[in-house]
Amino acid sequence: MGKTFEEINEKIRNGTVVVATAEEIIDIVEEKGIKEAARQVDVVTTATFGPMCSSGAFLNFGHSDPPIRMCKIWLNDVPAYGGLAAVDTYIGATELSETKGMEYGGAHVIQDLVDGKKVRLVAKSYGTDCYPRLEIDTYITLEDLNQAYLFNPRNVYQNYSAATNTSNKIMDTYMGTLLPQCGNVTYSTSGELSPLLNDPELRTIGIGTRIFLAGAQGYVAWEGTQFVLNKEKIDEDTTMYSGATLAVIGNLKEMNSRYLRASSFNRYGTTMFVGIGIPIPVLDEEMMEFLAVSNKDLYTNVVDYSVPSRSRPTLRKVSYQELRSGSIELNGKKVQTAPLSSLRRAREIANLLKESIQKGEFLLQQPVQPLPKDRTFNPLKDMVVK
């Protein structure tokens, strides 16, 4: 028994589709078994809402009169990329304001645009025969822009290590504030609701997959940067998956800042909470086995952030069930745990996606190409260049 994308889409169109969230499906499978659940349920929705640094937006301003080839660009004092065509730019989430520092960055510019606020655009040029203007200082709004699309090169991390700090000093990191002497452990995942933990072999998610991206219907554009498929056996029945990431794209003009939130991590810098939902078709029983996974079977590493190395030591492996309990044991000591990604808002997204599929507003898109299976994660070679 199997279902195709097209058969499921037909059910979405005629309103007979059965959808469950990746949390709900756990109980459904518990009650009915894999076989029956796979027969009854057509789509399972997954979601995540966490800080994702590799995020940003392409913008096109339109031409001023006389026109300018913008070489140096600032949006609310945050530098944006000036190495594209005359009035195209890319604003990255982690770029900091030249006047406000870590309080305000590219992520805040993007959120202000989404919120309909006026954003100050300053640009300078060396002037060319075809673009004579040397500078411009004006205001833009999202509405004024010809194109504005989020293009995030690395989002939806499949699985991320939990963080702790064995040193005697407090550390401010992108994994939050880490207290000295393993005073806490932070983790960032929606676990059993997380997209790439529910399709760990990427059978249904690939280039072209339609997704919920910050309130808009967006797409998987490519493999995410640093994409690699890692599999590690925890025991006979449990595999720890990690390493898959997605590059995603979507229309900024259709987004909602409830699902796209600028943020600033103390002494680290700015980043962006991105809300992403991915529907997974229940093509067959094997797919349902993946989807039925729960936090007790999902593991991650606890790594020591105080070691200033690319390969930080792993202190232990831990299940998301244990992390969610509020504390874990580390070197014989009970250590409090805290999440960094909002499970509450991820659930909201999974439910929104479920509703739009039920209402026939969101159709599944079969990948036009699967994601690669053979990628490796290469380090940067440090050569001495004179």
Binding site: F49, G176, L179, N184, S264, F273, A338, S342
Partner: protein
């Protein structure tokens, strides 16, 4: 019964005397130390919560002043902007008293002001700047 929060400032020569003993024994007030910075030979600072009858608290405060310990009301509290909060949980990583905690059913952030020590660690830990300190008279 009345409850107040105070910051006490001990002159260096008073930090080795059993001040709190007298406070409890002579004035029948219950007190809870929220924060303490006491080092021999240095000015000490103690943030406390006092619970007792109106009269006993009044007398305890008079005793405190006569004893040479300055005090002022603890006039700060932590306020959370629920509209800004995304319920990520980053603040719960640093909260020493468990005043900020996640409801493990709904994964909504909860704040128990009674438990808050106003240590302000959560302010820097909050990535969306949804936590602020409120000063009042």
């Amino acid at each position: 019964m009345k409850k107040i929060k105070l910051i006490l400032y001990f002159p260096p020569e008073k930090t080795d005397k059993p001040f709190t003993y007298h406070l409890v024994k002579d004035y029948d007030v219950i007190f809870n130390i929220l924060q303490a910075e006491v080092q021999p030979g240095k000015r000490g600072r103690l943030t406390i919560e006092l619970v007792g009858s109106q009269e006993n608290i009044q007398r305890a405060l008079e005793f405190t002043r006569e004893y040479g310990v300055e005090y002022r009301p603890f006039n700060k509290n932590i306020v959370r902007n629920q509209g800004e909060c995304v319920d990520c949980g980053a603040c719960t990583a640093v909260c020493p008293s468990g005043a900020l905690y996640m409801n493990t059913e709904t994964w909504k952030l909860n704040f128990d002001e009674e438990k808050c020590l106003v240590c302000e660690l959560c302010i820097r830990a909050c990535p969306v700047k949804a936590i602020d300190i409120n000063m009042f008279e």
